[in-house]
């Protein structure tokens, strides 16, 4: 084995009450893509924050090309040539693509004025290299999340980084964008870059990574060549136990129609019709921007209906706000749990009960704290939400647990119809399974569920019926048994209609 480009040895980091990292070893090799794997809360983010100089380690040593180094600030890390592309994007929406890429490092002419020509020419080159057909003078606020991610990558490329850390880079990317990203990663690898690749999508690990390091509960588990591993081995190393079948489907008898949507249209969607039965799970597949989320938000009353009708239990209703949707038994769990689902500075309890606080109201508008806590405790136990207490700020929970709080918040309104938008995005394998089990439990209890998901295996594994959207329209409808990934994809990109 070649000498590592960068070596982290015996890294230990403690936070009040938790040992986040315990004697972790981690290596990055020249011209290799190293996967960093582990469940949420395993310590990946903390380790990367140490590597990028955001956190200081309590114990351990860092070597770059066998020289002992120390990072006191993010700047020290940048100076060595380490660039990190965060899961949460750090772009300024009001600036252009080019301005964002060179923010703080704008090329200047000899009068110290910004050399805009050079800035945009260089930006164009970077975008071209990434295969993005965008004008660098376009505002970042006009870009999709996927496109914004590519701008982040362009920014790292512009830094000429020797080590690039990518934290869930493909989470918000379309397949086409992912393919473009992989092309770039391959190119970087050939140029001798060391890459750290963090992803929950195990398939990608085998596609793009050379090696993998697995962490579990803040401890180092293994480092190995990807060719020596397979999915089961990785999952076992990550969760410390074997995962049974990934999608534990249950079949229940489908009963009466609870939701019927007829010819629903507005700015984002066109002529959408479907029915949903009691105990049924419908999957909505489609690429980002296909109108999936907008459809959900229209049914939920947060986007206006221009034309069409919505029937709940065979009665027609006009749903004009999330409030009226909740009153009619429809709950929506957003794909963007940090931006739209949760209030990060509030506690687990306050978040969970927010949508239906009225039930706890008593004399003089006083909230009955005991009833509330009792109910919250019930959901925390039932959904195995891992939090030190219900008064913990949601911000401090791991992604999977935040997602469960977000779902619990929807459930507390006792919905008949639950819309889950990307319920397992950014959630680790173990928590995913738990969320699937919960969904099945709701199904058995007679709830009707709509799952919006970009992960086709998830849609195929969990749903009774699958609708595919493209350009705001439904381009395909399948029963689970007749659907295949290929067919769904063809409808999702608009090649075929079924």
């Amino acid at each position: 084995m070649a000498k590592p480009l960068l070596q982290m040895k015996g890294i230990t980091k403690e936070f009040p009450g938790v040992k986040a990292l315990d004697q972790i070893d981690f290596n990055i090799y020249e011209g290799k893509v190293m996967a960093l794997l582990g469940e949420n809360g395993a310590g990946k983010s903390t380790l990367m924050k140490i590597l990028s100089g955001v956190y200081q380690m309590d114990e351990g040593e860092l070597y770059f090309k066998e020289n002992h180094i120390k990072f006191k600030t993010p700047r020290d890390s940048q100076d060595v040539g380490i660039a990190i592309i965060h899961q949460e994007l750090n772009l300024v929406p009001q600036l252009t693509i080019g301005e964002n890429i060179f923010l703080g490092r704008e090329p200047v002419n000899k009068f110290k004025r910004i050399d805009w020509k050079k800035l945009y020419a260089n930006s164009s080159k970077l975008l071209e290299r990434l295969g993005i057909e965008k004008d660098p003078m376009e505002l970042v606020s006009n870009l999709s999340i996927g496109e914004q991610q590519m701008v982040e990558i362009a920014k790292a490329l512009s830094l000429d980084a020797k080590i690039i850390i990518m934290d869930e880079p493909t989470d918000a990317l379309t397949d086409k964008e992912t393919a473009a990203l992989f092309k770039v990663i391959n190119e970087l690898r050939e140029n001798g870059c060391g890459i750290v690749y963090i992803s929950h999508r195990l398939k990608e690990i085998f596609e793009i990574c050379d090696m993998a390091t697995v962490l579990r509960d803040g401890k180092f588990i293994t480092e190995d060549l990807v060719t020596n591993l397979n999915e089961d081995l990785i999952i076992e190393a990550m969760v410390g136990r074997k995962l049974e079948e990934q999608f534990p489907r249950v079949d229940v008898e489908l009963k009466e129609v609870v939701l019927e949507v007829k010819n629903l249209s507005n700015e984002y969607i066109e002529d959408i019709s479907f029915t949903l039965r009691k105990g049924e799970i419908i999957g909505i597949a489609g690429l980002m921007g296909s109108g999936r989320t907008e459809l959900a938000k229209t049914i939920f009353g947060s986007l206006p209906v221009r034309e069409g009708e919505v029937f709940i239990d065979q009665k027609q209703y006009t749903i004009s706000s999330p409030k009226s949707a909740l009153e009619h038994g429809i709950a929506y769990v957003s794909e963007d749990r940090k931006g739209q689902g949760l209030i990060l500075d509030l506690s687990v309890k306050e978040n969970m009960s927010l949508s239906d606080l009225k039930q706890f109201e008593s004399f003089l508008f006083k909230l009955n704290g005991q009833n509330e806590e009792h109910m919250v405790r019930h959901y925390i136990d039932n959904m195995s939400i891992r939090t030190p207490s219900m008064d913990q700020t949601v911000k401090n929970l791991s992604g999977g647990n935040q997602q469960k709080v977000s779902i619990a918040k929807g459930l507390m309104t006792k919905p008949k119809i639950l819309i889950l938008d990307e319920p397992t995005r950014g959630v680790d394998v173990g928590a995913k399974k738990e969320i699937y089990n919960l969904i099945n439990q709701f199904k058995k209890e007679g709830m009707s569920i709509i799952i919006i998901s970009s992960e086709l295996p998830e849609v195929l594994g969990m749903c009774d019926r699958i609708l595919v959207m493209f350009n705001g329209k439904i381009t395909g409808a399948f029963n689970r048994k007749e659907a295949s990934q290929e067919q769904i994809l063809r409808c999702a990109v608009g090649i075929e209609e079924a």
């Binding site: 929506y332 209030i343 306050e350 006083k366 309104t413």
Partner: protein, 311 residues
């Protein structure tokens, strides 16, 4: 004894206030007398009451610049009604309603008209100050003696069990504010709205309604302060309350409430108002010229906010 670091941090503004008071009491023995302490509390009551309402607004991520003008307008209405012979009780009720309504209108402009709170309340501030000047013709409305005026005077000048009435009123306002923020649905929504407006909307909460309510509450508090000042001076000054919005905002911020909303407490606001009150009082006792007082006040606020910055 083991000291809980988090508790210490939580109460740092209180600790600051106490430390500050102790230092002053060493410098000037006059400070720590019963009558002076009462004086501090009474002087603070106006700012405290305004700041209580301001706390609601700032917790939602907004700001209310109109409080000083609402104070003057409500005070003028109250005084003119009493001067015209109306029963003091009804006059006060009407003044409070007018203040609440003025706040609610700002709230409606902000939520329905989608105008920035800074701009919307700047408009109310200007318009109401003008309205007060028109209404009073630019002259103070003085309350001449009479049974009704005497009774009204109790609010600002009276004592109950040896303690000035405004202090009781302040206490009631803060207990009510605490109750609303900590024990009711509205309070929860105020924090939620300040924390994440989009998520609050998607939680089925009428964000527009909450905004109207918080600005109405701020207007109510400002009007109450206006009634107290009018009673204390037995006269409504058309320029009353100028610049009070800044003292109220300073009290809220000194109390650790985040200007971006979602985080803070009414308890912090009491402390913040008292810090400003003690400072004013101490500078007066120490005979510092009022010109220097403002510089010192600014410096103390800066230091406190710097110390409060999160790492």
């Amino acid at each position: 004894m083991k000291i809980d670091k988090n508790k210490l941090l939580k109460y740092k503004s209180v600790i600051g206030l106490l430390a500050f008071s102790i230092i002053i009491s060493f410098v000037s023995p006059q400070f720590l007398t019963f009558s002076n302490i009462l004086n501090v509390f009474r002087q603070t009551s106006i700012n405290s009451i305004i700041a209580a309402g301001m706390t609601f607004v700032i917790l939602t991520g907004g700001i209310d610049l109109s409080v000083g003008s609402v104070l003057a307008f409500a005070g003028a209405i109250c005084a003119s009604l009493i001067a015209s012979g109306m029963n003091a009780f009804f006059a006060i009720a009407i003044a409070l309603m007018v203040g609440t309504l003025a706040g609610a209108i700002s709230g409606i402009i902000i939520s329905r008209g989608k105008v920035q709170p800074f701009i919307a309340t700047l408009v109310s501030m200007t318009v109401l100050r003008g309205a007060t000047l028109v209404f009073t013709d630019g002259r103070p409305i003085t309350l001449v003696s009479g049974e009704n005026a005497e009774r009204f005077s109790t609010i600002g000048n009276g004592y109950f069990l040896g303690i000035p009435v405004p202090i009781y009123i302040t206490l009631i306002v803060f207990v009510a504010a605490y109750y609303i923020l900590r024990q009711t649905r509205l309070g929860r929504y105020v924090y939620a709205l300040g924390g994440n407006e989009e998520a609050t909307k998607l939680s089925g909460i009428s964000v527009a309604k909450i905004k109207v309510i918080v600005y109405a509450l701020s207007g109510l508090c400002a009007a109450l302060a206006g009634v107290i000042i009018t009673s204390r001076l037995a006269s409504a000054q058309p320029n009353a309350g100028s610049g009070y919005e800044l003292d109220a905002i300073a009290a809220v911020v000194l109390g650790g409430t985040s200007l971006s909303g979602g985080m803070g407490s009414i308890f912090g606001t009491v402390t913040g108002a008292l810090i400003i009150g003690v400072l004013n009082n101490a500078l007066n006792i120490l005979n510092v010229s009022s010109y220097y007082q403002m510089i010192v006040k600014g410096a103390v606020i800066l230091i406190a906010v710097l110390l409060d910055r999160k790492k």
